[in-house]
Symmetry: D3
């Protein structure tokens, strides 16, 4: 692989025009309201399970997602911890889910409460003995892949509306849980999980949720129009394939996508942020990541940084970025 997108100098200044619908904020405020109305925090179930591990306690969480759909998550805690603890909420990449209870425990190992959200309808690549069916009428029964085009004609029915609201609703659950120090919540994830991270951070102000930090790695779901022009790789390619067929739906599709674009959502975020980007990433091309990063926080005074991995594709920084996050999360959590 080689570089195929803008140069690093160009990326640093890249602030493209990304269209934003006029009712963007109304759409999301109404969506948050609708989601909260469909399920109360009282509905959160947290059950201790055997995770086969000795130093981590794991709880099987079911919380009311968008439309009241029961969504699965894990809550991992350092063994015996009761909290309140600094808390990390993790979202997953496309095809993945919360997986097995022993799979993703990094932040709990570090001494923090660590929530791992299942991505409704997905999860096949992570496996495990449970999953979160997408129970919305728009969703239908479990199938893979095809999430990128599900409901593309109408932002109200677009798949990621439910996912983004699940992310918000999980934050509601997290904030209400005894083990959480609500002043110390960081959201994070890679690829699709990075896109959801930006969405959670961007919706948090409207939802009245304060986040300490947001750490999207090689985020997906940013600047869709550029993405489809510069790469044909999946998952973005699912949309290309769709529009190559339904040739007369290009405008309506991009209109829908503009509600879910990390560029527009990130602009509204106020949490400190640490991005990462791979300059040879053909899945989430660097210009789409930088578009989101450069607009992140809008005109607000937000602490921002981005780790650039110059010779990497979608693997980005890998465990180098995990190391950087361990440090960055620790500093944020320790700050007064």
């Amino acid at each position: 692989m080689a570089m195929f997108d803008l140069s690093l100098d160009e990326l640093r200044d890249y602030r493209p025009q990304v269209s934003e619908p006029e009712d963007f904020d109304d759409f999301w405020s109404a969506s948050i309201e609708e989601a909260r109305a469909a399920g109360s925090a009282a509905g959160v179930e947290v059950t201790r399970i055997d995770n086969k591990l000795a130093v981590i306690d794991t709880y099987d969480v079911t919380f009311p997602g968008f439309g009241g759909t029961p969504v699965k998550a894990w809550l991992h805690l350092p063994v015996g911890a009761t909290g309140p603890l600094p808390t990390v909420v993790q979202y997953h990449g496309y095809s993945g889910g919360r997986g097995f209870p022993h799979s993703f425990t990094q932040w709990a190992q570090a001494g923090w409460a660590h929530w791992v959200m299942d991505t409704r309808g997905q999860g096949w690549s992570s496996g495990g003995n449970s999953e979160t069916p997408d129970l919305a009428p728009e969703a239908g029964i479990n199938h893979v892949p095809g999430f990128m085009t599900s409901g593309l004609e109408d932002p109200k029915h677009y798949y990621y509306r439910r996912v983004y609201l699940d992310a918000v609703r999980l934050l509601d659950a997290v904030r209400g849980h005894a083990t959480t120090d609500p002043s110390k919540i960081i959201v994070t994830g890679g690829s699709q999980g990075g896109g959801i991270t930006i969405a959670a951070a961007g919706l948090a102000p409207a939802a009245g949720i304060e986040l300490l930090g947001a750490a999207p790695d090689v985020p997906f779901l940013c600047h869709f129009q550029r993405a489809l022009q510069i790469t044909g790789r999946n998952p973005y390619g699912e949309i290309t394939n769709y529009l190559a067929g339904w040739r007369d739906r290009v405008d309506v599709a991009y209109r829908t996508l503009s509600y879910f674009d990390g560029v527009n959502l990130g602009r509204r975020a106020r949490a400190a942020t640490l991005f990462s980007v791979g300059l040879m990433d053909p899945v989430c091309p660097p210009s789409t990541v930088y578009a989101a990063y450069n607009f992140y926080g809008g005109d607000a005074d937000v602490t921002k940084s981005i780790n650039v991995y110059s010779h990497n594709e979608h693997e980005g920084g890998g465990i180098y970025q995990t190391a950087a996050q361990l440090d960055w999360f620790g500093e944020l959590f320790r700050a007064p």
Copy 2:
């Protein structure tokens, strides 16, 4: 491309063990009954539309498919024809649908009634100004691709149950229409359309429908287990991808698929048949096609032939096969 499957000599004798669930016939009898209960033939709407053509009359058809879902079709007739006419029913390949009214009129040009069924949920590659949403609760809203895995855990919810029953229900509508000579109905289609053709022919006896002929071209949806072993290409590859993730669902998936396997369905068919196969076809490998062909008709005395295209991939015979079908259909229709 080169040959990667069995030799022609081996193919001619290829009669693999394909598992068939004990309740196979019950499952389908009940399904037919359920489908017919959900919508009566009275519900068929047939409306003349402007197809931009001078020598073909086209009618926009809506008939009650599985679960009563309104399914779209075209009925093309030689201009001014009133019938009853010999009738050809066409099913489409994966991603396709009935498309524009001017797109697929071959059999009407030949002087016959020509019905073209929309494939619920699909249609993006054929385009057009309408589509058939899959309204079943299992289906969810329009998305692409992913149909191969939709409902894979339970034959009752598997996507192709609805499609196969749509095919049967269209035959109900066709038989009840004034332009149809019910003793002269042939079903046909290529790839997925070939798989549906085999399904329609296989379910017809149980449904009390007499078909004169069935002409599957390079049919899909046959001998799934072999298919997944010998090719990784989509659409079969969607299932491979699914099982590569949900590793513990292999058995349940193959059990579901056994209800929809062209080998098992074709065994029950009684209509005369003309298959086609490409010996270098990586999408619908020749051994999967021959498995269906060799078992087609079971032990009954059925007229069978297969056109072998020795140097072709999934394009198979292309218009050579259309020419062969024009002849074969004509002969069948003219027979006393």
Copy 3:
């Protein structure tokens, strides 16, 4: 696939320098004269054949092409029609030919006279029970592929000189036929057929032929130099392969090609036109199509439009474009 060429904004303004030989017009005038001298319209044979269709009458046409070579065509008419009728002349894509009589009848279905020209020496991908050997001494016996380089050292011997003149000579035959309304002739075709369409439209004025319209889809044979720089895909790649070997023939090759370039030919066209282009087309890259489109008609007042398919490769608009053409042809034909 993704975009790899200029952006749509750049394409709209793209007017590259394409060299044009000084004797361009003389070359083509002499060629037309030579072609006409070699065969008279009296030599056109039109024989009714059985096309297996009920609503279309098909005639097997043999007309004198370049050098007097007998070239095959189909004439399709709405059954029983005698004319004079609005007429559509169709040229084929690389590797294709007129094929079987039942294969390409779209414009006859619409009620018009529909001529389909065989491409001399080609035809293997369309099949059928006849073909048009290229009888020119330069041509040799049937072989595939390699047409792009045949005679590349001298415009007089270049393969497409014969093909373009066949196209003109077919127009002579068409205009002289009783079923043709000579004031209502439209030429069309996709890919190579689009390139021939532009050539026919560009040579028509010099040949004293009036065309009502020209509808090239994703046309090939335009702005060769750009094409070879931006794509390595066949058929353009045949020339790249040739020049990668005969390294000292680059200049002579491009000089030859400049006589056949759709940019130079289209500049001389005066018929109204409807182009199409796929913005992700790696076979006929969008900048080569736009180069031809932007110069089409030269400084004359010509009605021009182009349908842009933003997420498509070489399939372009497919049946969407056919739908657009049905409308556009109909409007042109109906205009007083």
Copy 4:
């Protein structure tokens, strides 16, 4: 991907002839002796470091590998644990190394002592702030890739002689450490780590080391001759590339490799074992894995099982296999 190797039925019975040099046992006995002579267990350094984790204690280990080369490892313990504990020793896949201290802690999370060996000369894909240079004179300075061919002319100088002996010497260090219950040691790893696991298990009897279990996942370094015939993928492909050049070294290369073949080494193993295999694995093809598995333990009464992932490539069982190992390790450790 699809299956390209033997069928599962054939694999279960696959017991190919793999040549074994006459002095195989002498070679390895002398190698073990030489390795132990070059460095004593007294030379093991174990230093507590900050791993950024709260529930795991990590020690930076340096032990004397082959030739006395200082080799790095991590020792992870449940926080505060002193032992003696059941112990898991992990080897890494090609290109990887021990990485960051927070990267691979799964078995320590389960409550066991967890050692992670650095692979001399490698480590680039895992990163981290230290590495283990291969200090042998044959090794040269750090470079990537090319390990498969380093010293291929002479088993004495072959790269994997040093690596396999490092693995044995780490077991010496592990057995001598206070936190280890020496009756409860399991070796494990995936891909190259699986090959080293088999080597460690095979050399253990000669080294007087008792292992409780060995769990190779999709192991590499087995049945080289078959591997090079059936796949061209790296890392095996590095040898193919070498022999495609040095055409006269085929015999000497295969003779060297026979000393390092998991088929021959595994035959001498006596520890209980749990293998895994992906039936579509193009990197470590299933027949090479089954060759090692079927001969594992020779004629001895060894507890063996293998988890088959039928639709997977080199990712094999992924976290499904981790789950199976957590169970299997736990049962072995709990057995009296």
Copy 5:
């Protein structure tokens, strides 16, 4: 790359049924006669040219090929040599030709007369300042590629009839030249040149030409039917592509090819031979080479050997094989 064809053990015994037309010998006898009638040896022109080399004298040769077409060759001699000398005649691979006079002089460097035949119509990849147009009426003007299908319907017009006869006619010229020791002629070449070598050796007895040796490297043009089944790579793939289109010409094509098959031609050869084969060769698969080798010489007592390159693709032995040929040619030439 990996092995994809038969194993070496199977190859050694591989003697497939390859059909041979009844009039095979008549066809070739008549062809030789016809070729010789069209041009006499008196027509050979040999002109000293400046080859830019000091130790090799090079002559520009024009000899009458099939149909009397003037065909180019080089004659290289050790500087100042007058002969008669042992003589090596070299044919070229697909796309190549005699090239520049300094390009291929290996056998002249060894002290022998070295003739290099141009391949009519080809030559583009070797370049140079002259070429040999194929002047046969069937040939047409220079074009690339497409030679594999030129005249495929009739053995009389098939391209390789002319090429094989050129090879024979060059031997006529060689034998009549003063520098040649006619008892010491060896023919050789790689890939297509290997196929022509087999043809020359196979036709020599019927032409009354005695050859001392024939050394085909990784020969092409052998066992076409197997070749097209097992590989899709060009140049064999040109025929696959043709038959994928002209689906009804399969039988006639294979009948034509059977006249040109190295299996049938080699069976008639009587010269000692040294073959080479690459066991991973996807262009000229090993089973096609072994089919020719195993039948070479028929039941006659012919000295045969084959050098097997077990890890090589179409590059085969490369300069290793050249080294082997230098030795083998030398031994043959020195034998009494």
Copy 6:
């Protein structure tokens, strides 16, 4: 393939900023001194061997390379020549070496002394019955590939330091040999051999060696930073792979590479030069070649030219360029 780099117009003006370390000249002066101190010219061994050729005399040369390592070369002379002769020194491409004595004799055929240097540690693709082990402690035993990253952390230990100095030390040996006319030495080579050619020419002034000419073909090892950005193909890709893993070594790696960059080395060259470049070369992209060419000779008055092969990939001009070199070398040698 198509063009993927700058246009020819842009290339002609391309003069990028390439960083040069301050101690560049000191580094190389010290290196030359160190290399010369390690072995004296007296240590050159030149032994006549049997090369199987009649018109070329070949000598097996061993000369003291960097660190005194004995490095192999061939010296080819026109048979019986004693000199002093004009002399050509050839370096090889990546993976190659001096090969068999009969392999590369072009310049000796032309009447000149022709030296062919083995590339230490490499040689596998050229084969032969000897090789040059890289005996430096940094090198280790023979392995392939991986040379691009060997010693990348420190210019003192980087592999190419040894290779470039071998090239200089061979020139020392050449100049001291009786067959050499020391005023007529030209260095040449393709790809890696082209990179070494530039290095030899660039180091010659500091080494007090006068070169008449330098002829790098499609040279490698130029403008590394651009190369890694624009192509992922090997051998440059070996570095990309390394930096994709060791993400924190990017700066140190590029610093090391800057000592070896053909841009910086060529700037110091004073010999006349003839470059070649392929405008579609994905291995040594044209911008990297032009960067070296445009800076070649710095501000000195150096005769420069470059042959542009517009439709070629890494094969560049092939034997066309050899022809051009025969002419250019001859002219230089003949000049007074």
